[in-house]
């Protein structure tokens, strides 16, 4: 039975529900994190084996999002032999079984018209199934439980998926923007796994079939109930969800394993790298500044995020000067990594010719220096804060979008209440917090330049040792 109209109408009602709950966030400025407002509809339960179950009932009849959030990603590939397994395991879990040995319907997702997505990032792996019809919930829960608990490393399947991954790795390598950021990270991080490509290097991918034992250990340690959060949003009833989860995940054993991620050494000389692009393209640069880990409690990350919005967005004075007035840069933007461990604030720009890059680079570094000394006007802060707050609300218009935002934050903190707390945190960041964050973090860690042809001499000779990189 198709109920298009009721489902469509439901979307705005649930947005209203979310807005009402988030509106309860404290609005005081400069007073530090306030009390923890939560999305009122979020309910959290924890099974005996450590599995966290989050139910978010929303007025969206017959529409359900079921997400499996595994707090494991490329960040956890620290032991020799584990490189590339986070993404491989996500692929193995995604395989539609053509023949199921456990009596499951291999065509379930297709039959119920579900939309299935999976992503293994730096810090978490999130698999989501979006479907209609609450009568399908049990089949979905059973199938998703089987995919993760009984995931196998069939050598033949591993070999095939490694080939798929190798082919996938060619796409980002062909994209100059993706390549620039990948090279910047590799240059900025000497020891932390954030410096490695999330897919793994091509050699690592191709050697996955030879390292199955390491992959099995990786899975045994990290793909366990005490490291996984289930999220169901939409037309869900907590008690029924819990009963189904207990039935299908109850026998899953916890591992209690704690992985040690090597910390990145402290600040040293900024590093430089240049990528010679074999095809004509605009010249571009990315400057990475050290950024704090994502936090829903400490103000530094939020402060840096607001600073990036105020200082490098289209409404910023630097954008006006570089892009609109002087037309030195074609593009300028910035973003702060949302990461479990300290990441980067990345400022990117592009120019018609490489000759303009030194001017752009100097302008960005001068702006960073200026921000360290004297930031920020109150109107700019208020605009940035309102922009972030409203953008987050707009990003949660539908059940699916809400679940995606919530799952992403849970992947970072492990805490379903972080989303509510985050709203309060952002409202508490004032001029003093931003000035302090700028002072502490706006130190360049690395600069990457990508331009066509052969690499010339470094544009800024005193900015550290130059390296060369060819795609």
């Amino acid at each position: 039975m198709i109920r298009l109209r009721s489902r469509r109408a439901a979307a705005s009602a649930l947005a209203a529900a979310i807005l009402l709950t988030l509106a309860g966030a404290p609005v005081a400025r400069g007073v530090g994190p306030g009390p923890s407002p939560t999305l009122a509809a979020i309910q959290v339960d924890r099974l005996e084996n450590g599995l966290t179950v989050v139910s978010l009932a929303l007025p969206d009849p017959d529409f359900i999002v079921f997400a499996t959030i595994i707090r494991a990603g490329a960040r956890n590939e620290t032991e020799p032999g584990t490189e590339g397994f986070a993404r491989l395991i996500e692929h193995l879990a995604a395989k539609e079984p053509r023949q199921s040995p456990r009596g499951l319907d291999p065509d379930l997702a297709i039959r119920i018209g579900a939309k299935v997505t999976g992503f293994a990032g730096a810090d978490a792996t999130i698999r989501t199934i979006v479907f209609g019809g609450r009568e399908n919930l049990e089949d979905v829960v059973r199938g998703e439980a089987d995919r993760i608990i009984n995931l196998e490393f069939d050598p033949e399947t591993v070999r095939r998926e490694a080939a798929v991954l190798a082919a996938e790795s060619e796409t980002p390598a062909a994209d100059p923007d993706g390549r620039l950021v990948e090279v910047l990270r590799r240059t900025a991080f000497a020891s932390h796994p954030y410096g490695r490509p999330e897919l793994g290097t091509r050699d690592e991918i191709l050697s996955l079939p030879d390292r199955i034992a390491a992959g099995q250990l990786f899975k045994k340690r990290l793909y366990t109930p005490d490291n996984v959060i289930l999220l169901a949003a939409g037309d869900v009833v907590r008690e029924r969800l819990l009963a189904l989860v207990r039935r299908h995940y109850g026998g899953w054993e916890k591992s209690n394993f704690e992985i040690v991620v090597p910390p990145e050494p402290g600040a040293d000389e900024p590093r430089r790298v240049r990528v010679a692009w074999p095809i004509p393209t605009r010249a571009r640069l990315a400057i990475g500044f050290r950024a704090p880990a994502f936090s829903d409690r400490e103000p530094d990350h939020a402060a840096l995020d607001l600073l990036a919005a105020a200082a490098f967005s289209p409404s910023s004075p630097l954008f006006e000067r570089l892009v609109r007035r002087d037309r030195k840069a074609l593009t300028l933007d910035a973003f702060v990594d949302d990461r479990r461990d300290p990441g980067l604030l990345i400022v990117r720009a592009s120019a018609a010719t490489e000759a303009d890059l030194p001017v752009i680079e100097k302008a960005i570094l001068d702006e960073a220096e200026h921000l360290r000394a004297d930031f920020i006007t109150v109107p700019a802060l208020l605009a940035a804060r309102a922009g972030r707050r409203h953008a987050r609300l707009l990003a949660m218009e539908t059940t699916e979008e809400t679940a995606a935002v919530l799952a992403g934050i849970i992947g970072l903190t492990g805490d379903p209440e972080s989303l509510g707390r985050l709203s309060g945190l952002y409202e508490s960041v004032g001029v003093a917090e931003i000035r302090e964050a700028a002072r502490r973090f706006l130190q360049p860690a690395a600069t990457a330049i990508l331009a066509p042809g052969e690499p010339p001499a470094p544009a800024v000779p005193d900015a550290g040792a130059a390296k060369e990189d060819r795609p």
Binding site: A15, D107, T281
Partner: protein, 513 residues
């Protein structure tokens, strides 16, 4: 040398497009149109302005003018406020004004909180009714458009480029065959006066339909209506382009550029529209081959899973406005439909195999059809997925406005009505009626076009294994390699991708190798 089929299409096109009267969707063709989806609850409002003028209205030699003119409105500030001041006004709203330019129509759109609607509308009203038209903003936005064209050669955008080339083949020499951004030469020649003139001529009441969805105030449409009385009460006659011809055999354009991967797209115009059952029968056929996100789609299983060849690809039975394809993404009205099969980029050596595989798959669908079991599964998937598609206010509004502009019912409502009554025989009949493995346009962006051509025109494909996934696909590989392609050597044209980007009027520069 171009194929005879393409030459015939071109000759027809040279007769020129016929100008027709306005669309029949409103009582007064010179009045502002409205599409309203009000809701008493909900915190958001989506606003969308559909302008029924797109790149097909660009004057010859000035391809890219429509895109640039609307970009100047969206990003060039108003007479009162500069672009920087407009950006500052939008920043606290957490939204942006999105511009989409298609062949027949364009759209400005945004979604905001209800409380921010006034602020957003103030920006829209100012920039659309009283644009700044400053030289500096114009030059910057023009440089941006030209840069976007150049960047399409830089890697990572090959699928888009191949799609543009396919459009150029299907509508060779016609306004519909042009890329929205124009070419390096044509976009580079556009002046600010021409942008101003284009705005005056085409940004008129009869071309505009405002859409509002969500909890906007009751009097808001009237407010818009009064404000937009400032625009002339006129309209641009709709273009009635020549119908695209069908290719004779397989006609290919291989665009060469120095990157390691190839993008491949096959397509053919179809006369079935969402008013016909046949359209939805073809949708099932396309979904079987390459429904986006469907893990068991043939293109994903055969290419990605079985052979480790790239990420597979997608197939569709509708228009392919770049970036807007797919039934889940409501787009801009376009009166043409196309059946397309597009592969995500693969390594160069494997690309000709993909072509042969796809053509054979179409042949098998026409000869043997789908099995009953497969048909039921795919149909069930599509039916149950309808309620999951395009659920935001902006998506619903865009889909409704697109349907209204074309004089049709909502696409998803039609799908819900028609899909359940189709049979497996309908799919085979529709495939036979509209598709043939012997009549296809093929566009590819590749590194070594000569090797690509030689592999396509050889009686059998080269014997190398196309992938390295390890699954034994040798039997099917053998059948694919032996599958005859109806492709004459003179039906394959090799062009320089750079020349195509540069071409003065969007026609394909032919360079016989």
């Amino acid at each position: 040398m171009m194929g005879r089929g393409t030459a015939a299409v071109l000759a027809l096109a040279l007769l020129g497009s016929i100008l027709a009267g306005p669309g029949c969707r409103r009582d007064d063709p010179k009045a502002l149109g409205f599409e309203l989806l009000p809701s008493d609850e909900g915190p958001f409002v989506a606003i969308r302005l559909l302008v029924e003028v797109g790149s097909a209205f660009d004057p010859p030699g000035k391809e890219g003018l429509c895109r640039l003119a609307w970009s100047v409105l969206a990003g060039g500030g108003s007479r009162v406020r500069s672009a920087a001041e407009i950006a500052a006004a939008l920043a606290p709203l957490g939204t942006e004004i999105r511009l989409d330019v298609g062949k027949e129509a364009s759209a400005f759109s945004a979604t905001v909180r209800r409380e921010d609607l006034d602020a957003l509308y103030a920006v829209l009203r100012e920039t659309l009714l009283d644009p700044g038209f400053r030289e500096g903003d114009f030059e910057r936005l023009k440089a941006e458009q030209i840069d976007g064209l150049r960047e399409s050669l830089a890697g990572g955008r090959d699928e888009r480029l191949a799609g543009d080339i396919l459009g150029g083949m299907i509508h060779a020499g016609q306004p519909y065959g042009r890329a929205e951004a124009g070419t390096l030469v044509s976009a580079g020649s556009i002046t600010l006066d021409e942008v101003r003139d284009f705005y005056r001529e085409h940004f008129v009441r009869g071309n505009l339909t405002f859409g509002l969805a969500g909890s906007y105030p009751a009097g808001f449409p009237d407010r818009i209506r009064k404000d937009f009385l400032a625009l002339p009460a006129s309209f641009t006659p709709r273009l009635v382009p020549q119908a695209p011809g069908r290719p004779r055999g397989i006609e290919a354009v291989l665009a060469e550029r120095p990157a390691e991967t190839s993008a491949v797209i096959l397509g053919v115009p179809i006369s079935a529209t969402p008013d016909d059952d046949d359209f939805f029968a073809l949708w099932i056929a396309a979904a079987h081959l390459g429904e986006p996100g469907l893990a068991s789609a043939r293109m994903v299983q055969a290419m990605r899973d079985d052979r480790g060849l790239g990420r597979g690809g997608t197939a569709a039975a509708e228009s392919f406005c770049p970036g807007l394809e797919g039934l889940s993404s409501p787009g801009l009205p376009l009166r043409f439909q196309y059946f397309t099969v597009r592969f995500h980029p693969v390594n160069d050596a494997a690309a000709p195999f993909l072509v042969r595989w796809a053509v054979r798959e179409l042949g098998l669908m026409a000869e043997e059809g789908l099995t009953e079991e497969r048909f039921v599964l795919i149909r069930e998937h599509l039916i149950h997925s309808l309620g999951l598609r395009g659920r935001s206010l902006g998506d619903r509004l865009a889909r409704r406005m697109e349907a209204r502009a074309l004089g049709r019912a909502d696409l998803l409502d039609e799908a819900a009505r028609i899909l359940p009554r189709l049979s497996v025989g309908d799919i085979r009949a529709a495939v036979r009626k509209y598709l043939s493995p012997n009549a296809l346009f093929l566009a590819a962006v590749t590194k070594d076009a000569v090797a690509f051509r030689d592999a396509l025109t050889a009686a059998t494909a080269p014997p190398e294994r196309p992938g390295n996934a390890g699954l034994d696909t040798s039997a099917e590989d053998e059948a694919v390699r032996a599958y005859p392609l109806l492709l004459r050597p003179d039906g394959v044209r090799i062009i320089s991708a750079e020349e195509w980007i540069r071409a003065i009027d969007g026609r394909i520069a032919i360079q016989v190798q």
